[in-house]
Subunit: 193 residues, 2 copies
DNA sequence: GATTATATTGAGTATACGCTCAATGAGTTG
DNA sequence: CAACTCATTGAGCGTATACTCAATATAATC
């Protein structure tokens, strides 16, 4: 049984996390700690009672994001039977988290070193499943004989390029949802013989 | 005939520009105006005697960069007879300016709005030539029938992805020079029937 | 050579931000 | 109810940084 105090503390911490996540997703990582505290309805000092520093707050939020993405990517890998399925699933996950993911990739240089390689892990999980499916389809003669890691990089490159140039491709609505069809179709056309 | 004063002024301005360019290319856009003044061997105030604000300095430097890139891309378009030539030329230009270009794309969010769309112009010039060459090769049955703008975006996506993940692909030496062969080879394999 | 024009200087100002800490008051314990 | 614990508060500190301006030094002009 948790004491009233514990519950209060956890709830405050969660309020900070949720608020920071929302602000970061909508406005980027340059939001100040004062701003976050304000919107979370707590005092400025409270932020530092829960997190030793801004960096620690960032690491916590980005870490949690990374963990939940990793879980979704894992499930996705299990349930995809073909490259086409896999691309759909991959897009679906990214579409669901587009806002925050977009900030993460466009403002990476503002982030502490500790989280700079946030994707490395995730992407190697994805790469693993992707490569299995692709190798099979290459062996079956459906897909061209190009090194699988290059195919994977091409796919991620396309997606990131659209995200990265969202302002150009789709300033007022999510990019990925809008171009998912084109992206998938183009990629499939390119990799098949 | 320019007066001694004019020459002095222009030389000071140029020193500031050159120094800022060098520092931005090697360390990124978070360098302070004091730092730039210091390394340029002028006083802090001098920077603001030549540029109304930091933003104006940034706009000037990035604008000049953009103009010189545009010129090189233009020449490149003229002299490329095939898609393969074109890719080589494109890579060559980017390789020559990799450091600054990399900062531009990885730290874009730090830059003033006025320069956010720095590539739009450049890329439409490139796109124009690229599309001409590709359309021809599609008509000749060499290249797959995929919308040319998607092919162009795929190519830029690959390049930017490698630049953007330089720390991962090639932390200690230029990425593009190292992977130019792989990038071009993969892209050509993918687009040809 | 005296006077004027101006490029340069650098100490100083204003602001923003991360972070601290003594004070406060609500919750817990005996 | 009294004593204690601890989450929360917010004014205040230190630092970084863009930008200003009166003073200075040097070139141009007569």
């Amino acid at each position: 049984m948790k004491s009233k105090r514990q519950l209060q503390k956890e709830s405050t911490r969660q309020k900070i996390i949720d608020t920071a996540y929302r602000i970061y997703a909508t406005e980027g990582f340059s939001a100040s700690t004062a701003r976050i505290a304000n919107e979370a309805g707590v005092s400025h000092g409270t932020v530092f009672a829960h997190f030793k520093s801004l960096n620690e707050l960032l690491e916590c939020i980005i870490g949690e994001f990374q963990i939940s993405l990793a879980a979704e990517f894992h499930d996705m890998g299990e349930s995809s039977a073909s490259v086409s399925d896999f691309l759909d699933a991959h897009l679906k996950v990214l579409i669901a988290h587009e806002e925050f993911y977009l900030r993460l990739i466009t403002e990476r240089s503002l982030l502490p070193e500790e989280v700079q390689y946030v994707y490395a892990d995730n992407q190697s999980t994805i790469a693993h499943h992707f490569n299995l499916l692709l190798s099979r389809e290459i062996k079956n003669g459906i897909v061209k004989e190009v090194p699988v890691h290059m195919l994977f990089n091409t796919w991620l490159g396309m997606i990131h390029y659209y995200l990265w140039n969202k302002d150009f491709f789709s300033p007022d609505e999510p990019v990925l949802a809008r171009y998912a069809g084109d992206l998938k179709h183009t990629f499939i056309s390119l990799i098949t013989k």
